[in-house]
Assembly symmetry: C2
Homo-oligomer: 347 residues x 2
DNA sequence: CTGAAAGCGCTAACAA
DNA sequence: TTGTTAGCGCTTTCAG
């Protein structure tokens, strides 16, 4: 078997207790003993048993990040931020993706996880999803992004303002028929994108132009969904001259659909996305920039705080968004109308 | 504290040994006892202590994925595949990103991890990176992507063929001046992209046209790097009429640089990427499609095999790539030459 | 087929 | 300050 604390203690000629204290850098250890222990550990290539320490202390030394999707650009960026903070705190990161309950376990995964981590980072989920609700009753520290629940800390973004700004921009460009590709069908205030809906309503309201229902289509937050949504919009009798998508990825799909119909974003139809991914720059896509990496770092920090001080009051932090104007939103209302009015492409 | 095995056993009126056996589904347990134990566990909401089990069995119930980058699209896709397979095997996934050794630990992170996981999945690293080399001596099961080492299993892709195919395509399009945006500067056979270099050499060799050194520029596998590389290529006295980038992300950067110079991929300069990300479809970027999700799943499966049977012989699997032709590579050699020949943009 | 008992390797009281 | 002594909660011989 591998080297244990006992071995180190023996070589150093001290008790395991002292060895343990020395290794963990306790102040109350004689420098001489510390030196001997360190040297012995070094020589033997000692690496403590995580499991044993966890069992003895009740601390797991790790946190889990729970997300409904691994394949979103936003996840990746948040992961980067989370990882950075956790690394600094010497905590390991477990990644768990919900969904695919195809194989019903006797003990649900998050329950199991709850017993093996010190806390959870929950990303972009409907707050009242049964799994998450369950977590909250487990009295494990939790920090979330995009949702809030009593007893947790959370990070939010100014989605209402961000979405409103995007639509304002389009309206200022002279557009009157503005399509919106939103995410999921659910109409739930707890859902992440609820604020975005409010934001566009604000903007349309201020301009005195309530959006037609036919101009609101769901895109499922995926590229393919965005493409489908845009296709539907183009098939309308009177297609929009501008489109705002609730995510860059859906906007990418929209671009694809546009091109498939011989149209060009920015030239024929104005398009604005949401998220501010790097790739949007390459596509010259206007977007609402969201500081995902910072979101990840912030939510990780919130979790660390809660782990250290479980009873602390809930903290909510709101991070700003920023509109980034690029070529894709420069199409003019009349130009778009002219091009599209001639006849909807491929009915 | 939380519910323990002892509690369950007590309620069920059996010993902890029997309870343990029953919970783990051993065949040698009286159905009646099993029933009683299960019921008790259910009623108490029992969830086993991971740490205790790990300590007792020596098995961690988790594996770590080690990668030098979290923010690459390829990572995300591989992660998805890995997660899927691991989930099926009831193993938790730890994500660790190497690099940032700013804070030198007494015990390096991978050493620590090695004591708390059942195996490692190593992604896209130089095989002889000191960290990895260290891992290999730890006799922990390891499966890698893109590199190989004795005592590990690995999955590879047909990079040589993939890269050659991309260049062949460009040459077939009539291009004689073909720029190549490769990855890192290191000239190391163990490096992931080594085969890609061989592949382009194959293709150029077959066509009897050795590439000029000035046409080979590094792009660091990032979008920004790709943009810089393309800019450098455009500043040449005689810019290339076609460019092959070793990754889609660098190609995205190249597109950006092209546009910044008033040029259009597919119209003025032919461009081919590598990786086959979804987004390339939106950009109409020709690319070499790589099955990253399957790579992830395969390497995960390899690791599971090695964990089950540590002494097994090394396994190497090679997955195919596929060239995907899109608009970006349709620019003709003469058209590109004509446009660019008139004078290099912004000297 | 079941139960008693001895650890797994470490930490945390407690005493010295 | 240091060592002794109990566990942490589970698994696993080994008897029965």
């Amino acid at each position: 078997m591998s080297v244990t604390l006992k071995d180190v203690a023996q070589i150093a000629g001290v008790s395991t207790a002292s060895a343990s204290r020395a290794l963990r850098g306790f102040e109350t250890v004689d420098p001489l003993i510390r030196e001997r222990v360190m040297r012995a550990a070094q020589r033997l290539g000692y690496v403590g048993s995580h499991a044993a320490a966890a069992l003895a202390t009740g601390r797991a030394g790790s946190v889990a990040i729970i997300t409904p999707f691994l394949d979103r650009l936003a996840f990746q960026r948040m992961l980067t931020g989370v990882h950075r903070v956790l690394q600094g705190a010497r905590l390991d990161l477990l990644v768990h993706c919900t969904g695919d309950p195809s194989d019903p376990h006797p003990v649900p995964p998050h329950r199991r996880l709850a017993r093996r981590v010190d806390g959870f980072i929950v990303l972009s989920l409907v707050a009242d999803s049964p799994d998450i609700a369950d977590l909250l009753h487990l009295d494990v520290p939790v920090a979330m992004f995009g949702a809030h629940a009593y007893g947790t800390s959370s990070v939010h973004i100014d989605d209402r303002g961000g979405a409103a700004g995007a639509v304002d921009h389009l309206i200022a460009g002279g557009h009157r028929r503005i399509g919106v590709i939103y995410g999921r069908e659910v109409d739930n205030p707890a859902v992440l994108e609820h604020d975005r809906h409010c934001g566009i309503r604000d903007a349309f309201g201020r301009a005195g132009m309530p959006p037609a229902a036919e101009l609101l289509v769901p895109g499922d937050f995926t590229m393919a969904g965005g493409a489908r949504a845009m296709t539907r919009l183009l098939e309308l009798d009177e297609p929009p001259t501008a489109v705002f998508a609730f995510s860059d990825e859906m906007a990418y799909g929209a671009i694809q659909a546009l091109r498939a119909n011989g149209l060009h974003p920015g030239a024929d139809v104005a398009l604005v996305g949401y998220d501010g991914h790097d790739l949007s720059a390459a596509l010259e896509l206007s977007t609402v920039s969201v500081p995902f990496e910072e979101i990840g770092a912030t939510v990780a920090r919130q979790l660390l705080d809660r782990i250290q001080e479980p009873g602390m009051p809930d903290v909510r932090e709101i991070l700003p968004t920023q509109f980034v104007s690029r070529f894709s939103s420069q199409a003019l209302a009349d130009r778009g109308a002219a091009r599209l009015g001639g006849g909807a492409p491929s009915s």
